[in-house]
């Protein structure tokens, strides 16, 4: 077990190193305009001096080495355009808590709605609620998120009078962004819990319980749901990644001062160092999520043995 954990951890670190290197090297290919705030007005000498100051004239690999050393000291560099010469860590520090709060609440809500919806669907298999839920799931999974986010925004504003813009102190403005972020994962959880519950309720022990005269409610809650919930943990990583993407959309849609909105901003303004830093942070979050999912699964389900060689993973 410990061996597996170490291996899994080492693999994550390796992935991270590779991603950071690739991101760093690729971004060196960008035009140098992305490093100056008012590139057009600068003279050639100023540009050369600037490049020299930033160390951009060194060979790429040496820059990469410097960057890793910086990174180990917790320094992501400084922003050049978005907010000139402000350390990126400082900018991010003010943005991350909001994203984290929204994302966390959204994840909890999607569990609170998704799991009961899925169990309801499993219980009324083939009847109205099942069909309704399936339609919902197909819609959410197939249609691009941007489309229904826009409609949530329009109708939330028109029918319920929620503000289209986010404000930290007014909690009614939190409703629509959180709802938008939660909707994708809700469908995802509902889909899988339904499937596992249907699988589970065809097993012999359920039949036995029924024959013993245990009530349907009790069977569903005590036996089927519990057993069906275990494999759900493997979807945690994917929902992690889902919420990253969701946050990019939603945060820029409602002008939420968080990480996702920031990424859209800096991409539009072509701030290379900021893009690099944010992509790296998101990659870290994604990799962390995947790793946590694998670890949780290994811890919770004793049937999964991870030391076997030759598996897909």
């Amino acid at each position: 077990m410990v061996k597996y954990l170490l291996k899994r951890f080492a693999r994550s670190i390796l992935t991270l190193v590779i991603i950071i290197s690739v991101v760093f090297i690729l971004l060196r290919l960008m035009p140098i305009e992305g490093y100056f705030q008012n590139y057009e007005k600068l003279t050639n000498e100023q540009i050369q001096a600037g490049i020299h100051n930033m160390g951009l004239d060194k060979p790429v690999l040496i820059q990469l080495k410097d960057f890793f050393i910086q990174l180990l000291h917790g320094d992501l560099g400084t922003s050049r355009i978005y907010r000139a010469n402000v350390p990126i860590t400082e900018i991010l520090a003010s943005k991350i808590p909001i994203s984290l709060q929204l994302g966390g609440i959204a994840l909890v809500i999607s569990l609170i709605i998704g799991l009961p919806l899925g169990s309801l669907m499993a219980r009324s298999k083939g009847k109205f609620w099942d069909k309704f839920g399936t339609a919902f799931i197909v819609f959410v999974q197939a249609v691009p998120a941007a489309v229904y986010f826009l409609f949530i925004q329009i109708f939330g504003n028109e029918w319920f009078g929620f503000s289209m813009l986010f404000s930290k102190d007014n909690y009614s403005t939190w409703i629509m962004p959180i709802l938008s972020m939660a909707i994708g994962n809700t469908a995802y959880y509902a889909m899988w819990i339904r499937r596992y519950m249907v699988d589970e309720s065809n097993k012999d022990y359920v039949k036995l319980a029924k024959a013993k005269g245990v009530s349907d409610n009790k069977i569903m809650m005590k036996h089927v749901f519990r057993n069906a919930f275990v494999p759900m943990i493997q979807y945690l990583p994917t929902s992690f990644l889902n919420s990253i993407v969701g946050s990019i959309y939603v945060e820029s849609l409602y002008s939420i001062p968080g990480m996702g909105g920031l990424l859209v901003d800096v991409v539009k303004r072509q701030d290379n160092t900021m893009v690099q830093a944010i992509v790296i942070v998101f990659a870290c979050v994604g990799i962390l999520g995947l790793m946590l999912g694998d670890l949780l699964m290994a811890l919770i389900d004793p049937r999964i043995s991870l030391n076997k060689k030759g598996g897909a993973r």
Binding site: V143, Q234, K268, G286, I287
Partner: protein, 405 residues
Amino acid sequence: MAKFGSCRVKLEESVTEILRAQSGPQNDRREGKSGRRDEILRAQGSPQNDNRGGKSGRQDEILRAQGSPQNDSRGGKSGRRDEILEGESGLQNGNLSEKELFEFAGYDEACAEKIGYSNYSYWGSTLRAFLKNKVAVALMVVIFTILLFTFIQPYLPGQFEPNLVNNDASGKLLRNVKPNSEHWFGTNSIGQDLWSRVWSGTRTSLLMGVCVAIIEAVVGIIVGVLWGYVRKLDFIFTELYNILDNIPSTLVLVLFSYIMKPSVTSLIIGMSLTRWIGMSRFIRNQIIIIRDRDYNLASKCLGSPTGRIIFKNLLPYLVSVIMLRMAMAIPEAIGSEVFVTYIGLGLPIEIPSLGNLITSGRDLLMNPGLRYQLIFPTIVVSIVTISFYIIGNAFADAADPKNHV
């Protein structure tokens, strides 16, 4: 089964009789069991058969791996039962007289050489199973109509150029015209005809989706087959997969389109960069599961060339997965395109795509009168993506040999 001659029936009668006498209850039990198994299989193959998520696949494969041997044995069993039943029905039909029944059947060389033959054809069964799903068939028709229409639309009379800025008779810009008989979807803020822009955009988006799907299939299959077949490569590929799989594909796409100049090609490459990984994993796992099955060994021993083994023995098992992933690639590519355009890295406005129509429609969110500019593209996007999603799932179910019995 009807192809077994009557002599076969005669030969088997006595056997049937004995079997029936002995195994009445057994037979019932077997029936009960296979019925239940059917249910389970159906539960597995229910509408949510989409094994799209990265992790989700693992469970599927486990199920499939467990499911198939069972299934095989069931096939064998039920086949035998059919014969028995046929024997019975032959008896009951009474097309043989009492006297004939108790005569020796005699030796007929042709009959003895006859082998059991079922006219099972993979694609025929797939088609039949698919046609049973009425919703999917209806959507298939819709999709074909849309596809056809996107291609013939520019050649229809009275169409506008998607990038043409329209002026009215007095030379004024036809800005934000509501839908009318001339401009069916109205015009946008600089007077371009939205009808033709929507169809041109659908064309672009579908083209990207199809390209991504094809690239995914080609690269995924090649890598997957190598990974699964060549045992020496397994370790390298597995380690490589473990690293690559951790990279969030959205970020790859964002980064790639940030670095490259946005164009149709660069978006296609950006989207394909990560998609093949999942596909090759699926193929590899399937191949490892199937490659050493007894029937493949038998087939090899009987001297089938590798090509025949691949096309007749392996491919039918893989088609459902491949088709599902290809069908899913299209809505996902459209979704990614909308996403990338949305964060400002999409195609330039001169190349209409569903993504940039929706993004420009979004700017008019505050103005209820102009909302039609957002609604038309979103309706088209929804129809296209939902159709592909449902068709993909239905086809995957239909193409799965397990559902053919």
